[in-house]
Amino acid sequence: MFRNQYDTDVTTWSPAGRLFQVEYAMEAVKQGSAAIGLRSKTHVVLGCVNKANSELSSHQKKIFKVDDHIGVAIAGLTADGRVLSRYMRNECINYNFTYESPLPVGRLVVQLADKAQVCTQRSWKRPYGVGLLVAGLDESGAHLYYNCPSGNYFEYQAFAIGSRSQAAKTYLERRFENLADSSRDDLVKDALMAIREALQGETLKSSICTVAVVGVGEPFHILDQETVQQMINAFEIVGEQEGPAAEPDAAAGQEAAAEQGGSTDEGVAPMDI
């Protein structure tokens, strides 16, 4: 009712005790294309849907490597996400320089949250319009955090953000109890299934999604399109028969890879990596 009167700047409270600008910023996250994350005891997987604005343009990079042991997936204003990733990378490099050891994920996430909070209490700033799923490994194990534009952060076993993330969240809610002991490959398959839910009907192909993994003995890296396509083929067949068969999948994977042609070529626009 009074929403429009108290939403002009972020330093104005509403009578109900809400900061509307911050809530609008969280809306921006919901408008972005979906990003999901899930973790086991030893690995964390991030995935996102890559929606290009038009057929002519490339899609935006939504998953960033922050350090060998930390990666982040974003949803919302990609530009804000890029800037925050640069901040996170810097913090990791500086910490490593001083202490010769990797920055614990929990610390980074708090620093990020404090940075976001500043923008909710300055009249000349605006909140960051991006939600971040921070995946990382440190001495205390595998972690997945969600950082809000509000400056709050939460730790999750599995989570999804962005548009049509509710479908992915529903799937994850069914699966999350079994995730802790999942193998790395099962975790990636679950991530792909969750992404499929977020696509709602559209065929899942490696050209419209990105998957990244970090785990014990495995530094953070984004899986290449061929690997992702092979895994997609593996579990889409699983619906009809028990377990992924190796040979038919390799053939199907190559077919699909040939179809995508140039998009699997690593030499193409850096945005595709």
């Binding site: 490597k65 640069r86 990378r89 810097n90 490099i93 500086n94 320089f97 850096p270």
Partner: protein, 223 residues
Amino acid sequence: MPKEQANWSPYDNNGGSCVAVAGADYCVIAADTRMSTGYNILTRDYSKICKLADKCVMASSGFQADVKALQKHLAARHLIYQHQHNKQMSCPAMAQLLSNTLYYKRFFPYYSFNVLGGLDNEGKGCVFTYDAVGSYEKVGYSCQGSGSTLIMPFLDNQLKSPSPLLLPAQDAVTPLAEAEAIDLIKTVFASASERDIYTGDKLEIVVINADGIRREYMDLRKD
């Protein structure tokens, strides 16, 4: 009244020698592993060689605390580069970065005498030699450190690098094969260890070629 001098210096010299030789498709970087202060040995097993990028290795003699700080600084800058460009820094790029980093502290220098070695973008060996404040040059071979006055004339005699003042510009790369270059380096360090008290204990040799990076060791005189 004569001006009073400080009786404390922020610098120390930990001695040692470094050599690098560039070939057509390889680069050899070597340094001894002795770390000393004054007439004492601090350790016989300290590496002066640091891998900065996939195809780029630096050997530094001088004040090892400054060397360590310099190495950490360059490693951090390399990480930033990788995040921004999605690839490793090339050796010539790292060479320029090292020069700029050294000059940045022109008025409180890194007491670090460096040789940078690696493969350039075409896979040819390249060696860059520096002074403490970043003046650098691409050469076919070079040496720095306490034994450099003993080693350099011998390398000049054996490797005959064309003068950079000559026209037309000639290749600064030696005609030696990889095995011959390694042999030459072993000879050179064995000789330097005889007369330079700060060079000895063990020789660490790093070879970069198309197959990657490998490391070799050789014993030197321990006296």
